[in-house]
């Protein structure tokens, strides 16, 4: 090493101007985090005009002809189309069924829009359709209307699917984050991060042996089991894009409560923990497709947990935290070592770290 007396002036260490305004959509706008919310609030909703509050949540509860209907829509753009534990067909049914279930509704009818890319093999379309049908039968929902479009080669990713669904909300059920009060218990229905890691393990530029399958499943039955204990659940969320962290932050923000999570109580399977450690990701931010998080009044927590554990999709359910009066709107984790940290709303895409 050269022995120089020249001294870089660390005091003048400066940083560059930021990119604050993006004139175009970037991938982070679809990450389900803060950037997605800003896009909807600042760009989409003003165009729709008037208050469209429901556009901010996964499903809306509307009154029609004396009935309370839950109504939801979701689009599916997953790559690869088939992955360990499921396919885009399973996701397209279960995603919308689960959005309805988070309102307490059992999905009754689905629509299905297919956008196919020129050149995709008919066998692939057939397999996707079979997966759709099987998932719909398993979830007890009927696909009653649909649409198919084809786009030129290079303008799609094989198969995109949009599904919309409706279902009846039972009387007495009112699931909203605004109903959360301090003291409520936070319950998660099982291991987190499984779907996201299963998908990442199959991406063409990131093949690794992980030995786990997507948790993709329809949660209507599990929600029924929970509501049979008490209709007084406060709020349910299925933590898909943005993971558990995004769901907890949405609930904290809407309820005005703080949320405390005991990090060691959150079920994270070793393969997920290992993959996340390797990629520099946090399991709390990784997508799930067959899990829910519930805020439950403390007096019902044990009974609801028992009902969840008795259901096949809730056998690993666990109490992971509580709503508190401190730090309103903020989610805080107690770390395994006894420290604390803020669990922030994810911003955009989760990006693997360099080293």
């Amino acid at each position: 090493m050269s022995d120089t007396t020249a001294r870089p002036d660390l005091l003048s260490w400066t940083c560059p101007a930021p990119v604050r305004d993006r004139p175009r959509v970037v991938m982070g706008h679809g990450g389900g985090g803060a950037m997605s919310a800003e896009l909807i609030e600042q760009v989409v909703l003003p165009g729709l005009g008037g208050p469209v509050q429901a556009a901010l949540t996964d499903s809306a509860v509307v009154e029609l002809g004396g009935a309370r209907l839950a109504f939801s829509t979701d689009s599916f753009v997953v790559r690869p189309l088939f992955f360990p534990g499921g396919s885009i067909g399973d996701l397209a049914v279960n995603g919308t069924v689960n959005d309805l279930a988070m309102s307490g509704a059992r999905a009754a009818f689905l629509s299905c829009g297919l956008i196919l890319e020129e050149g995709v093999e008919l066998d692939t379309v057939s397999r996707v359709a079979e997966a759709l049908g099987a998932a719909a039968r398993a979830a007890g929902v009927r696909v009653v209307t649909g649409d198919t479009k084809v786009v030129e080669a290079g303008h799609g990713d094989g198969v995109y699917i949009n599904t919309s669904g409706i279902g009846l909300v039972p009387a007495g059920v009112d699931l909203r984050p605004e109903r959360v009060t301090p003291g409520d218990v936070v319950v998660v229905s099982g291991a987190i991060g499984v779907h996201g890691v299963a998908i990442m393990s199959e991406r063409e530029n990131l093949r690794f042996e992980v030995g786990i399958e997507s948790d993709c499943a329809a949660l209507g039955g599990l929600v029924d089991a929970m509501l049979s204990v008490t209709s007084d659940l406060r709020v349910l969320r299925d933590p898909t894009r943005g993971g558990l962290a995004a769901s907890l932050n949405e609930i904290a923000a809407a309820s005005g409560c703080g949320v405390v999570v005991q990090e060691r109580a959150v079920p994270v399977p070793p393969p997920v923990a290992g993959a996340c450690a390797m990629l520099g990701l946090d399991p709390m931010y990784v997508a799930n497709e067959g899990k829910l998080v519930a805020f439950v009044p403390r007096e019902h927590a044990d009974a609801v947990l028992a009902a969840m554990k008795a259901h096949p999709l809730g056998s690993e359910a666990a109490i992971i935290g509580e709503a508190v009066t401190d730090h309103p709107g903020m989610v805080v984790a107690r770390t395994g070592l006894g420290g604390t940290r803020v669990v922030d709303m994810p911003m955009g895409e989760q990006l693997p770290r360099i080293c």
Binding site: A6, L11, S12, T14, C15, V26, L279, V342, I354, C355
Partner: protein, 396 residues
């Protein structure tokens, strides 16, 4: 995966903390060099658990944070060209250049791809012979060997449509620069374990002796960090200043000879600019003369892009421990991960981002905001020190 739960064990952590508390008698300022260590410390709340006497200063070892604005602007220019497939590790995509970032280039039609191994970029070059594939080679001694391997293989296999945009930096000259700073408060270093797993420990005894500081090679899991702190505090209390290896399961004294041979073959030591800090002599690598054809700066003629860095943020003070991230006026207000003023707020390994993401709850509402010291930061001051390029830089 082994080695995750084992190195986060709360009972063992409590024993290490007891040992540190029993040893320490007065205040000490330790710098953890690597951004990965900073991330682990803040994520697990390790700094909250240490006795008040032990202060952790977060060092400059975040590869994203120290890559100069000028190099990012070169990357943006190259990535915008229609013939180019520009490959990068993920977290570089969000780092702002002068006006945009790589995400924006992609949204405007640029072919920017995230890869997880630089060899994936080389494979893309083979599969796309009519395109120019460029890999963004940044980072420390950890990422340099695999990046060196790409051009080594490209040359051996005659792959002509591949090149590397290089901005590699080295840790020991940064330690030297920090210790030479007149306001330096650092009394010991937790050296970056993974850097040493490549380079070994031979570069450090001279630094420990010259600046009379303990240097303890330290890993990244909570127990690794605590063991590094424990050994460092023990040395400080005894008045010792030796190089110690607290991460022997990954760091043999000689490092990784194959990786070092690859570095020697492909790179030569050169002066490098660090983002905001300016040029530190001999603090990085560039492609050696025989590999110059694989230098993307040369191939795309972007060598004359120069960017002055605006004096916007105060990460230089943060990196010296003169200012904690939350003591900056901009922290959490005009500067957040969503709208970063500087790269230390962009990368998850950056000290400011780590504080913002994990530590907002505990932070006072900036009553302690400190004014900038007189004369700093200097407007447009890219570098306080310019040293002429020395072609005869000796290889460390």
């Amino acid at each position: 995966m082994k080695y995750i739960d084992e190195f986060q064990d709360p009972d063992l952590a409590a024993r290490l903390l007891d040992d540190i508390r029993a040893t320490v008698t007065r205040p000490w300022a330790l710098m953890e060099v690597c951004g990965g260590q900073t991330h682990s410390i803040i994520r697990h709340g390790i700094d909250q658990l240490l006795p008040d006497e032990v202060e952790l200063i977060h060092g400059p070892g975040c590869p994203v944070c120290v890559t100069p604005l000028e190099v990012i602007d070169k990357a943006l220019e190259i990535a915008s060209r229609p013939e180019v497939i520009f490959c990068s590790f993920g977290d570089m995509l969000r780092v702002p250049g002068s006006g945009r970032d790589l995400f924006q280039v992609r949204a405007e039609g640029g072919d920017v791809r995230v890869v997880y191994s630089p060899l994936d970029a080389l494979r893309l070059a083979e599969e796309n012979p009519d395109r120019e594939v460029v890999f963004f080679g940044i980072g420390f001694e950890t990422t340099a060997p695999p990046n060196a391997m790409t051009v080594h293989q490209a040359r051996r296999r005659g792959i002509r449509n591949f090149s590397l945009l290089v901005s590699h930096v080295r840790v020991p000259p940064a330690i030297e620069a920090i210790m030479q700073s007149p306001d330096c408060r650092v009394q010991a270093f937790l050296a970056a374990g993974h850097v040493c797993s490549v380079m070994g420990t031979a570069e450090y005894p001279a630094l420990a002796e010259r600046f009379r500081v303990p240097i303890v090679v330290t890993g990244f899991e909570p127990l690794d960090v605590l063991e590094g702190v424990r050994r460092t505090v023990r040395q400080l209390e005894r008045g010792e200043h030796t190089v110690d290896n607290a991460y022997p399961r990954a760091v043999p004294p000689e490092g990784n000879p194959a990786a070092r041979a690859m570095l020697d073959d492909v790179f030569e030591v050169a002066d490098r600019a660090w983002r905001g800090i300016g040029v530190i002599p001999d603090s990085g690598w560039r492609l050696s003369a025989r590999y110059r054809d694989y230098d993307a700066e040369h191939r795309f003629q972007v060598g004359d892009i120069t960017t002055l860095e605006p004096a916007e943020c105060r990460s230089g003070e943060v990196l010296q421990g003169l200012l904690k991230p939350h003591e900056c006026e901009a922290f959490g207000t005009t500067c957040t991960p969503r709208t970063p003023l500087g790269a230390t707020m962009v990368s998850s390994e950056g000290a400011c981002a780590a504080y913002y993401l994990y530590r907002r709850l505990d932070l006072p509402a900036r009553p302690g905001s400190r004014p900038s010291p007189a004369g700093a930061p200097t407007a447009g001051g890219t570098t306080a020190v310019r040293v002429p390029n020395r072609e005869d830089s000796s290889v460390v």
